[in-house]
């Protein structure tokens, strides 16, 4: 059984007090509790503060381009669906630059967990508005305040029948870990949007701001009701729910692709002899 030590990576370069630290330990803890070994685990990320996470954990990792986490993760899953895959992303990475992949990965439904470190800001590039930044927020690029409405990632995921939709908070790492375990064990594409205070650039959505507002979806809440889930995903303001908003049992991408029903693609040996007859078709 793996221990937290096994997953220990480099020393994070995040700011002291950043919400990313709690997310990182929650991930490690979740993996340890699920008994997943580092060599069975692939973490894929893009670029951003969240995107640096692969360096702070020890397992297979692919730290790719800003916004392109999901296509890499999806294809890796198709190539070797025996790997557990977590895609780690930021609100800018996933919903801004990578918005189109977010939409279409939901449709594809690979069995991957997507953890979005949603700090409602661009952290690494020093404080510009992200898609989830509140309207009116002033930044260097929006000195008069952000004009766009913030994106609602949960509502969007539910609108496209995403297989698992949840929200957690870095300030409640114990619950966050449970949500992570639920996401990882869920069969299908799971979105876990995580409130992650950026102590340096987001002076609005602080630990306190979240703590004052966040509450857990009530016991008995039915995550299989899509319309209800949508309604709850619109709650924002003084009270903001956390928890598993929505789930369904859709067929996964890997279940549908004929070529990998018997064996993972990586395990399929190739020999020219076996494909040579293809040439006959051209005579």
């Amino acid at each position: 059984m793996p221990t937290s030590e096994d997953y220990k990576g480099q020393v994070p370069a995040w700011c002291p007090g950043c919400g990313n630290f709690q997310i990182l330990s929650a991930i490690k803890q979740a993996l340890v509790e699920l008994g997943i070994e580092p060599w069975e685990m692939l973490v894929v990320s893009g670029i951003g503060q969240a995107g640096k996470l692969p360096h702070y954990i020890k397992c297979h990792t692919f730290n790719g381009l800003h916004g392109r986490t999901l296509p890499v993760a999806t294809a890796a899953k198709l190539a070797n669906h025996s790997l557990h895959i977590i895609a780690v992303s930021g609100d800018g990475d996933c919903y801004g630059e990578g918005g189109n992949h977010f939409l279409h990965t939901i449709r594809r439904n690979p069995n991957i967990s997507l953890f979005v470190h949603d700090n409602q800001i661009y952290g690494l590039t020093k404080g510009q508005a992200s898609p989830t930044t509140a309207k009116g927020t002033k930044t260097k690029i929006q000195p008069d305040g952000v004009l766009s409405e913030p994106m609602n990632p949960l509502a969007m995921a539910i609108s496209q029948d995403c297989s698992f939709v949840a929200r957690g908070f870095a300030g409640d790492p114990e619950y966050l870990k449970e949500l992570m375990k639920a996401a990882i064990t869920h069969k299908g594409f799971s979105l876990l949007d995580i409130f992650q205070p950026c102590v340096t650039f987001n002076k609005i959505n602080t630990f306190k701001w979240y703590r004052d507002r966040v509450y857990k979806l009530e016991e008995g809440y039915d995550p299989y009701n899509r319309v209800k889930a949508f309604e709850r995903s619109l709650e924002w303001g003084d009270k903001i729910p956390n928890g598993i908003f929505y789930k369904n049992e859709r067929e996964t991408l890997e279940e549908g692709v004929p070529a990998i029903q018997e064996k993972t693609l990586v395990r399929q040996k190739f020999s020219i002899e076996e494909v040579k007859h293809e040439i006959e078709k051209f005579y």
Partner: protein, 579 residues
């Protein structure tokens, strides 16, 4: 006809949606099956119905590799075809048409009016079979028998049942017989039965697809874009039989990132597009470069900029592909001249991509993509497959695995994550250390640039084969081509008297340029009086590449940028000034 050897050209013209490709394709197949060498090319508009398209088939008892301007038989499926192509019909040629469809009757001797539609209705009870009648009629005119066509029809309509097959065969026969009995001058075709040979008929895009398949490509991701879509189609059609994963991505950015993800995870992967779609892959290309993830990219050119002429041909993306992406990393570009080269070079692309862990390009264009050629065979013994990926046993006993370990060759061990015991595979788009972790110091940066780029470059250069010289071995005039102009330049060289000392120098391995040790092609060029770069682009991109890498400047340049390929006649015409 004043041809030295048997050499006919058929042109089938009509609207988009009239089934030209079916008629043309069937005729090309019939001809190749009875042993003729065939060369076809297509000219079509970017629309699904209407407009004007044509499909041209040249056939011969000799090897051929280009199209001619003048045709012997024009099969006109509409009036427009007659109006556009009448002037291209040779003196003793024929125009087959249906005066009812054309709503016009022509009285000149070359016209043969065959009631395609009426025969279809009479014999097949359905006017949709008019094309089958026409196909039969062309064969009748040539007196080539119907056996091959019948087999093709049986194959084509297998799913629709025996009745449909028989109706089509009946229509073909009716067309055949009508032509034989109603053709006043048909003896003009002193057509010889070819010596029987089993010939392959294959176009560029299928050759690339089959090349990928036979190189162990297991993953293909793409987004439809003319003229690259054929690779996606082909791979998808073979997915079931060969256990391939073929993914239509939401956009080209996803397509290349998927190919990289699959390759990182351990399988040979490929993606492809045309120029505009490839433009969206450029950042991903640099990711492959930085992470040293092997991928093969098919870049199928069409005239740009932007949407340009979506269904036409051009060679104007060469320098774009060569220098695409920020930062510096090695790459290889192949640009085949024939479907056969496309097949082998795709195989070689995978070999080099995997061996050096780099992106390798197969670049081509609409012309080669769509032209069908005949070949006696592809020698499959020449295919290479070396598995450079490290698994379980390859890493046994290894203490610490480092994805980006420094080495003399610059090549580091490429392990398959999850299949390499407890070894962990760490890849990073940031500059990184041997383990794959992000760094910022100058010393590691320098070592990594040396490993990734500078050490590999000379080794890769050694892998590149010399250009092909065809014609006079010590030429006074050299025609330099690359990629799809191969066939036409070659045939033009054949038509030029030997005493003019002309040769073609053709490059299909474009970048890096071949070394000069084994064959000093620059010396050869320097010794010639006239060197003419021939390119399907306005600015002569290959000429720029040549000058930038070797300092050699071609003395002349022939550029064609109307979106159409060179034909034998128009290239000869252009050469007139020099030869």
């Amino acid at each position: 006809m004043e041809v030295k050897f048997l050499d006919y050209t058929l042109r089938v013209g009509g609207e988009a949606g009239q089934g030209l490709a079916t008629v043309g394709g069937a005729l090309a197949q019939v001809l190749s099956k009875i042993g003729y060498h065939v060369f076809t090319h297509q000219d079509y508009m970017s629309r699904v119905r209407g407009g004007h398209n044509f499909y041209q088939i040249r056939f011969s008892d000799q090897k051929i590799s280009a199209s001619r301007e003048m045709v012997d038989i024009l099969l006109a499926l509409d009036l427009n075809t007659i109006e556009i192509h009448k002037k291209s019909v040779r003196n003793e040629g024929f125009i087959l048409y249906d005066s009812e469809i054309a709503k016009k009757k022509f009285e000149e001797p070359e016209f043969i009016d065959i009631p395609f539609r009426k025969i279809a209705l009479d014999v097949g009870k359905n006017s949709v079979m008019a094309n089958t009648v026409a196909t039969g009629a062309v064969l009748g005119l040539l007196d080539l028998g119907l056996e091959a066509l019948k087999n093709i029809l049986r194959q084509a309509f297998k799913k629709k049942g025996e009745e449909v097959i028989q109706e089509n065969i009946a229509c073909a026969e009716a067309g055949y017989n009508y032509a034989r009995t109603n053709c006043p001058r048909c003896e003009a075709f002193g057509i010889r039965e070819p010596e029987y040979r089993k010939l392959m008929l294959i176009d560029g895009v299928h050759a690339i697809g089959m090349g990928a398949l036979m190189s162990g490509c297991k993953f293909y991701s793409g987004y439809p874009m003319t003229p690259s879509t054929g690779i996606l189609d082909y791979m998808a059609s073979r997915a079931e039989e060969y256990n391939l994963v073929v993914e239509q991505a939401e956009d080209e950015i996803a397509a290349i990132n998927m190919a990289i993800g699959a390759s990182f995870a351990g399988v040979r992967a490929m993606t492809g597009s045309s120029g505009g779609g490839f433009a969206l892959m450029v950042e991903g290309l640099s990711l492959a470069g930085m992470t040293e993830t092997p991928i093969v990219i098919a870049e199928m050119q069409r005239p740009g900029p932007a949407t340009g002429l979506p269904t036409r041909t051009e060679q104007a993306d060469l320098l774009f592909v060569l220098y695409a992406a920020h930062g510096e990393f090695p790459r290889v570009i192949f640009e085949p001249g024939t479907p056969e080269q496309a097949f082998y070079l795709t195989n070689r692309a995978f070999e080099l991509a995997e061996k050096y862990q780099i992106p390798v390009f197969i670049q081509s264009d609409q012309y080669l993509v769509d032209t069908e050629w005949t070949f006696e065979n592809f020698d499959l013994e020449h295919l290479i497959y070396n598995d450079y990926r490290m698994r379980e046993k390859d890493l046994e006993g290894l203490e610490d695995y480092k994805r980006y370990k420094y080495s003399d060759t610059g090549i580091s061990p490429l392990a398959v994550p999850g299949e390499a015991g407890k070894h962990l595979v760490v890849a990073d788009s940031d500059e990184h250390d041997e383990e794959g972790h992000i760094i910022e110091d100058g010393e590691t940066r320098i070592k990594m640039v040396q490993k990734r780029l500078l050490k590999k470059l000379p080794l890769i250069k050694k892998e590149i084969e010399a250009p092909l010289l065809y014609g006079d071995p010590s030429p006074k005039i050299v025609l330099i081509g690359h990629g799809s102009t191969y066939g036409v330049i070659k045939e033009v060289v054949d038509t030029i008297p030997k005493d003019q000392k002309v040769a073609m120098m053709h490059f299909s391995q474009i970048y890096p340029l071949p070394e000069r040790e084994r064959f000093d092609y620059i010396e050869l060029l320097e010794n010639a009086d006239i060197t003419i770069g021939i390119e399907n682009s306005a600015t002569g991109q290959f000429a720029k590449l040549m000058r930038s890498e070797t300092g050699f400047k071609f003395s002349h340049q022939i550029s064609k940028y109307d979106g159409r390929p060179f034909t034998i006649e128009n290239l000869k015409e252009e050469l007139h000034a020099y030869i």
